[in-house]
């Protein structure tokens, strides 16, 4: 190999290697920019969903506070009281003087009537108290169910928002990629071509 062929070969090799490195560098930069753009979109969508998730978490935490033992006990006390009020306010009042024959009966009969209806009313009131207490259990769980439904409505709406955001994310990432993508400058390829030409020249005169 003569000296005049070594120099072109060395130049060709340097240009080819340099062009390859330049291509690789541009490809890496492009890939990194695309990845950053896609990640930015993802971060943006996750940020939106995070706000939605915080709303849902707030609704759930409020609901969770409502089912703590103290709150549940208070709810049961309240609804049992409401049912007891509904029942007790509907109980009849005692008025022995309105009974048939009350006017011309003996005092013994009158007192017997008063005692009999008093006893009957007391029995009914005891039953009313027990009835209200029994019904209070069902009322408590019904109210809790209604509170669950209300929370579900709100969280369900948020879930819909988050799902829509998630569904849009791939498309938005693709758009971001398209906007970020830049084709290679071609300089690296040009260097590689020139390097190949030098190599060919060196081979022809070697």
């Amino acid at each position: 190999m003569c000296f005049e062929s070594i120099i072109p070969l060395a130049i060709g090799t340097a240009l080819s290697v340099g062009g390859g490195l330049l291509n690789k560098n541009e490809n890496d930069t492009n890939a990194a920019n695309i990845a950053t753009a896609r990640n930015d979109v993802l971060a943006s969508q996750l940020g939106k969903n995070n706000v939605i998730a915080n709303e849902s978490r707030g609704v759930f935490n409020d609901r969770l506070a409502q089912v703590q033992p103290a709150a549940t006990g208070q709810l049961q006390t309240d609804v049992t009281g409401q049912r007891a009020n509904s029942i007790n306010s509907n109980m009849p009042t005692i008025n022995a003087s309105t009974f048939p024959g009350a006017a011309d009966s003996s005092s013994l009969v009158k007192s017997s009537v008063a005692k009999a209806i008093g006893d009957a009313l007391a029995t009914s009131q005891q039953r009313a108290t027990a009835h209200a207490k029994l019904g209070g259990f069902g009322d408590t769980f019904q109210r809790m169910g209604l509170q669950d439904t209300d929370a579900s409505n709100k969280i369900g709406t948020s879930i819909g928002f988050a799902q829509a955001n998630n569904a849009l994310t791939p498309s938005l990432q693709d758009f971001a990629e398209q906007e970020t993508y830049k084709p290679n400058s071609g300089i690296g390829g040009l260097f590689q071509g020139i390097g190949n030409a030098f190599g060919s020249y060196a081979g022809a005169h070697g």
């Binding site: 509904s86 509907n90 009849p92 017997s112 209806i117 009313l121 009914s124 169910g145």
Partner: protein, 224 residues
């Protein structure tokens, strides 16, 4: 072009600034959005619409509060209490008559029976109060179901105007009173012995007719 300016209603002031058809300065046109911006803004608008629809639903259903259900309970009682009161008054009369036929209407037996009748009456009133509370709870459940349906509908349609219309329609439908059957005869069992006694007493043919002029068992006598 021979048809003139195609931007009808818009013009140009002498200084070159764009003006609208009334000569007022035209607002600058918004910068065109990119497709991703259009997508996100449309989705944001949809979510805002859903939120607005939910607010409309909450507003329409706000009338179904504790006073509303308390009023419903009262209406329930107002429907059934007069029926039970009337039946009780009638039952008192029937009991009084039955006891009088037996000659014990002014006795401790009568006192006991009136006490038992009053006990049944107060039990029935207690039942009505309890049923009123249960009916109000059932109505609360119906309201919640309707509300949930509207929430789902609103999320699906993302049209707050439609959700508002539906909410008003359904909340109006909810206030239509359901059919409640009137009470049956609640004191029938208690009074049945007395009514049976009364009927049997009325239907009793009693002893056959016996002529006071008949002194023996002969078939007849000839008056001469």
């Amino acid at each position: 072009m021979c048809f003139g300016n195609s931007n009808y209603g818009q013009g140009q002031a002498k200084n070159g600034a764009q003006v609208d058809q009334y000569g007022n300065p035209a607002s600058p046109a918004p910068a065109p959005q990119t497709i991703p911006q259009q997508i996100t803004s449309q989705e944001d608008a949809r979510q805002a619409s859903v939120r607005a629809g939910n607010s409309s639903i909450e507003s329409a259903f706000s009338k179904f509060n504790d006073p509303y259900f308390a009023d419903f309970e009262k209406s329930f009682k107002d429907y059934y209490n007069p029926q039970i009161d009337t039946q009780y008054n009638d039952a008192q009369g029937t009991l009084e008559a039955g006891l009088a036929r037996k000659g014990v209407d002014r006795s401790s037996i009568a006192a006991t029976q009136f006490g038992r009748l009053f006990g049944q009456y107060s039990d029935q009133r207690e039942q009505i109060g309890d049923q009123a509370a249960s009916a109000a709870g059932e109505l609360r459940g119906k309201v919640a179901n309707e509300k949930s349906s509207l929430y789902a509908l609103n999320s699906a349609s993302a049209n707050p105007a439609q959700a508002n219309t539906e909410a008003l329609a359904r909340s109006t439908a909810l206030v239509t009173p359901p059919a409640y059957t009137p009470l049956g005869s609640v004191f029938a069992n208690f009074l049945s012995p007395y009514t049976a006694y009364s009927q049997a007493y009325s239907n009793n043919a009693g002893a056959g007719y016996k002529s006071p002029y008949q002194k023996n068992n002969n078939s007849g006598a000839v008056v001469q």
